[in-house]
């Protein structure tokens, strides 16, 4: 449920920064995450704040343990921060209950995983349709949308195959198609080229870049690859749970 009071605060902050509220896809405010481990408390994120505009292709880079994945988990509403707030389309996502967060993930966030995370027992078409089915889309509409996206990504001929029978690049395209089915506000990609060879990785990256620039999709990509990071619109570099650099490329 949308928290009106909190949204008003966000709008005020945006006005202070002279950023048009409608152009903001995501905003993180002083987000901290502290894990309790057997070795004691581990600060994974320490008051991280950033704003991402709609249509921006942002990379999050940093060494292992810098907090990249934690940021992605918070932004993707997969985990709650210890403190701080995250707004997607102006909505304070952690003011919601778990069910509302699940709906938000379904309708406003698209996920692309390093290891594709496709359901191998079912077809490519059904994998792509799945978020639509969860959203309550009718089977005909979901079919139509899924086929359009698969066609745009050049893999519509694979619609009846099982993902396990496709190449890594093709599987990642299926995952990209799945992330687009509900027309989300932001797409989160966790090392999307990490399991692919260089050539296929480049193709997948080019596809994502095309999505961002041609179709004005907001994409946040976690990567280890500095060359790919430089090819995005903006790179947020993390170190020890803090933003070390925020660079417009």
């Amino acid at each position: 449920m949308r928290n009106v009071t909190k949204d008003l605060v966000v709008e005020k902050n945006l006005q202070d920064e002279n950023i048009d509220n409608d152009s903001i896809a995501l905003r993180a405010e002083n987000v901290s995450k502290i894990y309790d481990t057997s070795a004691g408390k581990v600060v994974a994120l320490d008051k991280v704040s950033f704003t991402i505009k709609k249509g921006q292709f942002v990379s999050i880079v940093g060494p292992s343990g810098s907090g990249k994945s934690t940021v992605l988990n918070m932004v993707g509403a997969l985990d709650r921060p210890t403190s701080g707030k995250i707004y997607i389309d102006g909505i304070d996502i952690f003011s919601m209950n778990d069910s509302e967060i699940a709906t938000l993930r379904n309708k406003r966030i698209g996920f692309i995983f390093q290891s594709f995370n496709l359901i191998n027992r079912t077809t490519v078409l059904k994998n792509v349709k799945l978020p639509g089915i969860i959203a309550g889309m009718s089977s005909d509409v979901a079919d139509f949308r899924a086929l359009k996206i698969l066609e745009a990504l050049g893999i519509d001929d694979k619609k009846n195959q099982k993902p396990v029978n496709l190449s890594g690049g093709q599987q990642q395209r299926v995952a990209i198609a799945r992330s687009l089915i509900n027309n989300p506000s932001i797409i989160l990609a966790d090392e999307p080229t990490g399991n692919l060879d260089t050539k296929t990785g480049d193709d997948v990256f080019a596809m994502m870049k095309n999505l961002s620039h041609k179709f004005k999709r907001t994409i946040i990509m976690v990567t280890h690859n500095p060359e790919l990071a430089e090819s995005t619109d903006r790179s947020i570099m993390l170190r020890d749970g803090r933003i070390e650099k925020d660079v417009i490329n």
Partner: protein, 414 residues
């Protein structure tokens, strides 16, 4: 997610693990079919007993001697009285007693045209047979004259033994009965007698009568070497209302030296025994079903563990906890529905097969008794619902565990 999509996703997940799914379904099938078979046989037995007692007249009382009590339920004592004509006279003299019909019973080997079978010889005044069995009818022929020592009435099961393609005897045919007894020195003595079949009874519903050859008192006394000691007396009360009074009088006069019982009392004891038996059978069946349910827990728990990343992915793309819970519960329900339905079919078939097997190969080598199972639709529905309910219940914990998984933790799992 609409129910159809939910069903299809669950069904695909089950099909994906065919062998495990089939083995789990098999466990449910075994459990539910066992309950169906046992229930069917139990219901068949209860109906059989009821039918047996319904063939008996309502105003008769069975009085057994100490030599042979009527049944294991009849009271008997080591200080028992031998029933001879003196005792018979005393019984007849009791008030409210219309008649007292003495009877010898025993076992004999009967030969007919080269075929043999072991039958019960019931030796009674043939004209009084209807006092005990008011609904007695004949397929062919008629009853034996009281003084005719060489004629016999043959029961339906003797004429048409289970599994036989032709009749064992026909009307007018001569049969040879052979009985043995031990003399005072312990030596086995064989007595043989020929009888002409003068009547063939219609199935009476009373298994004891249907398996008998009925001869007159003198013939039975001689063949079975009873020495005028009756095995039982069928006491006919003046009216059914007098049964209790006569029973009290018999007990008052003879104490525990005679075994006295009524069809009503026998029925009550047997119904009580059948109820206990049914409860035991139900427990066995439920244990089998619970074993099947444990199989479902194991299967689905393994499935949750193996599909943990899939669950994480489903949650990441927006599946609600309730939808994950429903996915696994539908899997459990599908296992239950398929298992229970197959279990019902196999149980019904198995019940009939067991009934035929017990008829063909009677326990203890005794005479075959065909007791068809009874499968009441309401009972079948109860078993089906119980199997389904237990299956869904068994799926609860794994489904709940899956639904409560943190998406982040699930996605991290290799």
């Amino acid at each position: 997610m609409n129910p159809k999509d939910l069903f299809l996703l669950s069904f695909e997940a089950l099909v994906d693990r065919k062998v495990r799914t089939l083995l789990t379904i098999l466990m449910v099938v075994l459990g539910s079919s066992l309950v169906v078979v046992l229930n069917g046989l139990s219901a068949g037995q209860a109906a059989f007993l009821e039918k047996q007692f319904n063939t008996l007249a309502a105003n008769v009382i069975f009085v057994g001697s100490g030599q042979r009590s009527l049944s294991s339920f009849a009271t008997s004592s080591s200080n028992s009285l031998i029933i001879n004509n003196v005792v018979l006279g005393k019984i007849k003299s009791l008030s409210n007693v219309g008649d007292a019909i003495p009877e010898y019973t025993g076992s004999a080997q009967v030969n007919s045209q080269g075929n043999t079978q072991r039958v019960t010889i019931t030796s009674i005044d043939p004209t009084k047979l209807t006092e005990e069995l008011p609904n007695l009818e004949y397929v062919d022929g008629s009853t034996v004259k009281p003084n005719d020592r060489s004629s016999a009435i043959v029961g339906d099961t003797v004429v048409n033994p289970p599994g036989a393609s032709s009749s064992f005897v026909t009307l007018g045919q001569t049969i040879k009965a052979t009985a043995t007894y031990s003399d005072s020195s312990g030596k086995s003595v064989t007595i043989m007698k020929n009888f002409i079949v003068s009547g063939i009874m219609k199935p009476s519903g009373n298994n004891g009568i249907d398996r008998s050859i009925i001869v007159n008192l003198d013939a039975g006394n001689e063949l079975l070497h009873k020495l005028n000691k009756y095995d039982q007396v069928i006491v006919v009360a003046t009216t059914p209302d007098d049964v209790d009074t006569v029973q009290q009088e018999l007990t008052s006069q003879f104490g525990k030296t005679l075994g006295v019982t009524t069809p009503k009392a026998l029925m009550a004891v047997r119904v009580q025994a059948a109820s206990g038996n049914a409860a035991f059978i139900l427990m066995v069946g439920i244990i089998a079903l619970v074993v099947g349910a444990v199989g479902i827990v194991t299967t689905l728990y393994n499935s949750v563990t193996e599909r943990i990343r899939e669950i994480g992915t489903m949650k990441a793309i927006g599946a609600q906890n309730a939808e994950i819970l429903a996915l696994f519960l539908v899997e459990a329900a599908l296992i239950g529905i398929i298992g229970a339905s197959l279990g019902l079919i196999i149980g019904i078939g198995g019940g009939y097969v067991m009934s035929i097997v017990t008829t063909t190969f009677p326990a203890g080598g005794g005479q075959p008794i065909h007791i068809p199972p009874i499968f009441a639709p309401a009972d079948l529905l109860k078993v089906w619902l119980l199997s389904l309910g237990l299956s869904v219940l068994a799926g609860m914990y794994p489904a709940w565990k899956a639904s409560k998984l943190s998406p982040m933790v699930a996605l991290r799992r290799e």
